[in-house]
Structure formats: C-alpha cells, structure tokens
C-alpha cells in the first residue's frame, strides 16, 4: 500500500487545507494525475499523484483544518507489477524539518493492553504506528500522535497566553512565529522578535473577503521566507549590462512572421538564456538542504509573478533548459494566467531550482533580488533601456538590460557568479541559437 501524504508545496509552507478530492475510492490513478486540490497560504494548488494504482481509501475529508505537511491523505493500492517510486522528488528544507511521525513502519509484536485500548478508542491501527519506546514498543504517545490527523484535530499553535495577547495586539500570526519556549511554546519574546521582522499595523480593518484574506496570509508567508533568507543566506550581488541589440532585432524579425497570439516576448528570451547559462555553472542551480548544497540536474526555473491583489508567487517552468522558445513563451503565459487565478500545481510551487525576477515591466532599471530558500541563487532583470555603448571604438545607442545575480556565498563565490553572467551575455548575443 502506498501512503499518499500532503507534499510540501513550497519551501515556506508547512500546512495546507484540503479543499476537495478529484478522485474517489476505487479510481485508478496514474503518475502526474491531479487527484486533489489544496489551499496554502499562497494559492489553491492542484496536487499531483506520484504513483500508479487504485485509490484504496481517502483518509481525510475536505475541510478547513490546516494539515501539516506529511499528513496521510489517502492510501493507494499499487497496480500489479508496478513499482512504487523509490523516493520522493527533491525534498525541501521544510520537508526535512517536518518529517511526520505518522508514516507507517509496520512492526511485529503486540502493543500492551492499555496501548491497544487507547488505539481502539482513537481508531488507530497499531500495525501502522511506528514505536518510539525503548525497544521500539508502541507507546500511548505514539498512538495519540498517530490519531491526530485521523481525527482531524486542529493543529493548534502552542503559545503562552502573554504571547497570544501580544500577537493579537500587534497583528503577528502566531502560526509563523518560531518557538523558543518550554516544549515548543511560543513566548512573548518570540512574538516580539517576529514583530520586528514583520511590522503589521494593528489598526488595519480585518479583511474578510476571500482574495484579500489570502493575500494577507501570502504577505505573511513572504515575510517568513524573506526574513529567513536575509537571516540565513549570506548574499553576494553581481551585475552586468547586457547589450540586447542583436537579440531584440532578431526577435522582432521572428515575430513579424508570427500571428499576434504567437509572438514571443523578450522575457521568454531572457528566461531561455538564463536556463542555458546555468549549464556552465550548475552550482547556482539547486537547493541548500541539511547544511549542504544539493545540485539539481534539471533546471526548474522559478518565475516571480506579482499578483494583482498584492504579493507574488514564483512557480517553476519545469526543465526550462530543454524548452524551445515557443514552448517557453507558452509556459510563461500559462503560468502567469494560472498564478493570477490562484490555480498553480503543487510541483510548480515546490521545486524551482533557481528563480528569475523581471522587474523591467515595473520600469525599474536594476533589481537586487532576495534568494528564495532553499534555492541558492536568483537572477534579476531590469527594464530594457536605450544606452550609449561603444561598438568597435565608436559610440552607438543600443537597447541594454541590467542583469543581476544574487548568489548564496555558502555555495558559490563571486567568480562563479561572474562566469554565469558572462555566459548569459554570450548566449544573448546569439539569439538564433536559443
């Protein structure tokens, strides 16, 4: 039997609500099929299944409960002869941190009568409970933990009364405050520390409509992720002017032959060049997990998309280095549309290996972006501006873009970052090869 657990849908996410099931028991599911819809702080996400099989049981019903990552959602019986996938996709930091104790580790031996009694009361199958006792026995505590997601108990934040009062007064979300107190208790000190990171005006009217509520929680998610980044990641910044004269000329000529709906925007060109440039500097592409860098073979290019109601998401264009320009453009359009209607897929949210932010459309000349953990680099593009440049010793006015790289100094040094920007420049000088 395969356990289908709530996947981590982004480095800064550890809970989600189950909105609805798109399958029912008895349905055959295949790898990549969307089987459920969940809602995180950031978006409504379609959750893909990673196995082939038949849905045996939907363990949890949709509801408003915030479920921790790793919560058992469904059980899937593998098809005859099918191999369950050996390991999940690239784990995020949060996954590593929030490994749930509910994963089954069937054990031989019979639990003690009081434990069996408790298990019976709580409806827990002890065969699926991993024992934490001295010799691996199942304890009452194990049973209680195993029961929690099953009985759908609200994942309550443990905070001191004073911390709760302070949080209420200052508008800090207790759910995002790292706890330092007794047995994981959020204390007043923790709330004050968070308040300094995310000053929230307490007098704002409470927003009640759905999108505004969501953008508020998104704001907090961004606050958490970015505060974490600036706290933990030693950023270095590099910048280069890149002459886009050839690239844009080529693109204009290309677009003249296309229908308006099929035209390619310069953004797609920049994304493609970025994806290709990473081949020479794979140490910018991957994740920082467990105090070490894990490079990624695939380039899943996160694209920062700002949303109309405020906030932003950075879902991935998968295998961006292998897409044609047309495919890249189509992916970008699709992604932006779905992001703005809050309909992203879980894998898109969870596995970018590097992110690109393009603030050019906001009229900004240079961006100094902040790395999104657990990624280790982010590329920024500013507005394309006409600038005087020297061509063969002669002044000329060319369209130029300011490209920046923020790198994680724990993984790379400025030299490697410089090589990347250099490669990016060279690729953009030969647009026909993109």
């Amino acid at each position: 039997m395969i356990d289908f657990v709530l996947p981590s849908l982004g480095a800064d996410m550890d809970v989600a609500k189950l909105n609805c099931w798109l399958v029912k028991p008895g349905d055959t599911v295949h790898k990549g099929q969307i089987i459920a819809e969940v809602e995180t702080d950031k978006a409504v996400l379609e959750v893909e299944c990673w196995d082939e099989g038949v849905v045996e049981e939907l363990v949890l019903a949709p509801g408003p409960t915030r479920l921790p990552v790793g919560t058992l959602l469904a059980r899937i019986r593998p098809l005859e002869g099918a191999q369950p996938r050996p390991s999940p996709r690239v784990p995020t930091v949060e996954e590593a941190v929030t490994a749930q104790p509910t994963r089954p580790a069937p054990r031989h031996g019979v639990p003690s009568p009081p434990v069996r009694h408790l298990a019976h009361q709580l409806g827990v199958d002890t065969a699926r409970v991993a024992g934490s006792g001295p010799a691996g026995e199942i304890t009452r505590e194990d049973v209680r933990r195993a029961a929690e997601p099953v009985i759908g108990r609200e994942q309550r934040v443990k905070a001191s009364p004073l911390a709760r009062r302070l949080a209420r007064e200052t508008g800090v979300d207790l759910g995002i405050v790292p706890a330092s107190g007794l047995a994981g208790l959020v204390t007043a000190k923790d709330v004050r520390a968070m308040e300094q990171v995310t000053p929230a005006p307490p007098d704002l009217p409470v927003e009640t409509t759905e999108p505004e509520g969501r953008s508020e929680t998104m704001r907090r998610a961004i606050a958490r992720s970015m505060a974490h980044s600036k706290r933990e990641i030693p950023h270095y910044y590099l910048a280069n002017h890149i002459d886009l004269d050839r690239a844009l000329r080529w693109l204009t000529a290309q677009n003249e032959e296309r229908p308006i709906s099929g035209r390619i925007l310069p953004a797609a060109l920049l994304l493609k060049a970025t994806a290709l440039a990473l081949r020479g500097t794979p140490d910018l592409n991957g994740h920082w997990v467990d105090d070490g860098f894990r490079p990624s073979d695939a380039v899943h290019l996160g694209v920062a998309i700002s949303l109309r109601e405020g906030g932003l998401v950075a879902p991935a264009i998968h295998d961006a280095d292998r897409l044609s320009l047309e495919e890249m453009m189509a992916s970008l359009r699709d992604l932006v549309n779905r992001a703005r209607s809050w309909r992203l897929r879980s894998s898109e949210m969870s596995d970018p290996t590097i992110t690109v932010t393009n603030l050019g459309e906001r009229g900004v000349e240079t961006a100094f972006p902040v790395i999104i953990p657990p990624q280790v680099a982010i590329v920024g593009f500013g507005r394309v501006v006409d600038m005087p440049v020297a061509i063969d010793g002669q002044p000329a006015v060319h369209p130029v873009v300011h490209a920046t790289l923020a790198g994680d100094h724990r993984v790379t040094d400025g030299h490697r970052g410089g090589l990347f920007l250099d490669a990016l420049d060279r690729l953009l000088q030969e647009p026909e090869a993109l």
């Binding site: 001191s160 009364p161 004073l162 330092s180 107190g181 007794l182 208790l185 204390t187 007043a188």
Partner: protein, 331 residues
C-alpha cells in the same frame, strides 16, 4: 534616608517570638500564654523559656494534653474579655482542636449576628526538615486558609516573628500564626526601634524581573537562595513573601506576575488541593494574559514526610528544584 538612621540587631527567630510574647504580656494584663509544656518546660521549641518565672503560673499556663479542651478554653477566655495566646505544639496536633477552631472560633461572629467576636491568637509550629517523623512534620496551614472567619499568617523573618504578634493581638477576630519549626534557630537582622507590622499584605523580599518566586514561611529562605543561584545564570528572580495566607494578598501576586510573566510557587504543603493550588488558580483567573509560560509549583512529594534524612530531603522543596523550575519556564 530612613535606612541610614535605622539600626539593627542580630536575633534568632525564637528570641524574636519570645520578645513579642513578653512585651505583649508586659503591656496588657489581659494577655496570657496557654499550651502544652509552655511553662515549666519552656515550650517544646524553647520559645517561652523564662516566661513562667517572669509572669507566674496564672499567666503562663501548662495545660493537659487535650487540644480541644485548651483551645476551647482559649475561645471562652477571649469571649470573656481576655487576650489569650494559645500555643499548639504543631499543626499536626491542632487537628484535635479543629472543631473548636473551625466550628467555634471562626463562626461565633457570624452566628451571633455580630454580637460576639473572638480575639484569640493561636500559635502553631508547622513544617518538616528536622527528622521528627510524619506525625510532627506536615504543613497543614493551607487547611486553615480555607476557612472564612480566621486570619492565617506565616512570619518568615525575624521582624515578622517579632512584630506580627501585637497586630494579631489587636485584631478583634481569631488569628492563627504559623511558625515554621525550621526557622526557630535562624538568625536575622531586627530593625531598631521596631514597630508592629501589618498582617494584611505580602512583601517583595527581593526584586526581580524575570520570574516570580511566590512563597511563605519556611520556604522563604530556600526561595531567596534559589534567587541568588538564578542570578548567577542571568535570571532575575523576584521573591514574594506572602506573609498572610488568608486573606491572600492577590493584588501583590498579580502585580509581581504581571511584571515578570513567569510564576513559580513554592509551598511545603502538598500540591493537591493545597494553598499553592489556590495561588495558581488566582493567577490563572485574574492574570492569565500575563503568563508567558505555564505556572510551576515546587511542593512536597505527595507522601507522608519520611523520617530518614535523605528521604525527608527528597520529599521537601529544595533550592535546586526551585532553580530548575524557574529556569525551565524562563527558558
């Protein structure tokens, strides 16, 4: 300014109590001392040594071994216009006089429609730590704090031992004074000249900002020692000496917890249904939003106090346990 002018003298707790009794008897003819072995023997804790010789057998009266009888006689004397000081050897023996204390002394004012008040002072030793066995070692002062109609005070310093008595004697209603037997030999600085102290309020014995150590009686020196230890690890502990268990000075408790946001209650009684539970409930009811961590209680183990020294020590609140509790919740 007054600190500079005030002189002090070193005195034991035992001497302070004796001075208080002697002065009361010198100043008021209505005051007399009554109890088991208070006369010829000088008191089982030697508190009344020399008083028989000074005041004579009329005013320092040895009684039969019948707590109900002599406490009842004390009530009668108080009703008759005297100001008796009744000594009960230990709180453990006072259970024989519970009917007199709870059903008579505490109730007469109420049941007579305010016609008869009982200006009685009862002194009792309480507490453990001297290897005298379970029947002499329990801390039952919390039981008396349960009863409306009596005031329960717990002098923990030589100043309170010396100056609570005159205030108690001037109270028109019954007052029970609990003297922790472990304190009699302790020495302290007594301000000179002294004056009667109130038996209403608690006192901050040491100011601090991180955690409130709330205690009384024989546990006060332990709490102060714990505060000293805590200071070495950077935890600033406030020590609140309750002084009065009934009525509790809740205002002071709430003020201290409101400032430190952490509370450790130290009580030599047992936790279950004890005075520590009352204090914790009072904080939970009135100051829960000030709490930044769970309340902790350091109390006696829920067993009869053992005789063997190491087991007795293990059963009683100790400085290390107070320090550990404070550090745990302060984090």
């Amino acid at each position: 300014m007054t600190d500079v002018l005030t002189q002090t003298r070193t005195i034991t707790y035992r001497e302070a109590v004796r001075e208080a009794i002697r002065e009361a008897m010198q100043q008021d003819d209505r005051v007399f001392l009554m109890g088991e072995d208070v006369g010829r023997y000088g008191g089982c804790y030697a508190v009344s040594k020399g008083l028989l010789e000074e005041f004579g057998p009329e005013r320092v009266r040895d009684t039969p071994l019948s707590e109900a009888a002599f406490v009842g006689a004390g009530i009668g004397a108080a009703l008759g216009g005297m100001r008796p000081i009744v000594e009960v050897m230990t709180v453990n023996f006072s259970l024989l006089a519970l009917d007199q204390i709870v059903n008579n002394a505490a109730l007469y004012l109420h049941m007579s429609g305010g016609q008869f008040n009982v200006p009685l002072v009862i002194r009792m030793a309480t507490g453990a730590g001297r290897q005298v066995g379970a029947q002499h070692s329990h801390s039952l002062e919390g039981w008396y704090a349960h009863i409306p109609g009596i005031r329960v005070v717990t002098p923990a310093t030589v100043e309170d031992a010396r100056w609570m008595l005159p205030t108690a004697l001037s109270d028109p209603d019954p007052v029970i004074i609990f003297e922790h037997s472990g304190l009699y030999n302790s020495e302290g600085e007594l301000p000179e000249p002294g004056a009667p102290v109130d038996i209403v309020s608690s006192r901050v014995r040491q100011a601090g900002s991180d955690v409130s150590l709330i205690t009384y009686g024989g546990s006060l020196p332990k709490a102060l020692a714990a505060a000293e230890d805590l200071a070495t690890v950077g935890v600033s502990a406030e020590v609140l000496d309750l002084r009065v268990l009934r009525p509790l000075d809740t205002e002071a408790i709430l003020a201290s917890v409101g400032a430190t946001h952490h509370a450790v209650i130290i009580d030599e009684g047992w936790k279950t249904a004890g005075i520590s539970a009352e204090i914790a409930a009072c904080i939970a009811e009135q100051a829960v939003w000030e709490l930044d961590a769970p309340i902790r209680r350091v109390c006696s183990a829920e067993v009869p106090i053992p005789y063997a020294r190491h087991m007795e020590e293990a059963a009683l609140p100790q400085v290390s346990a107070i320090v550990a509790a404070a550090r745990e919740i302060v984090g």
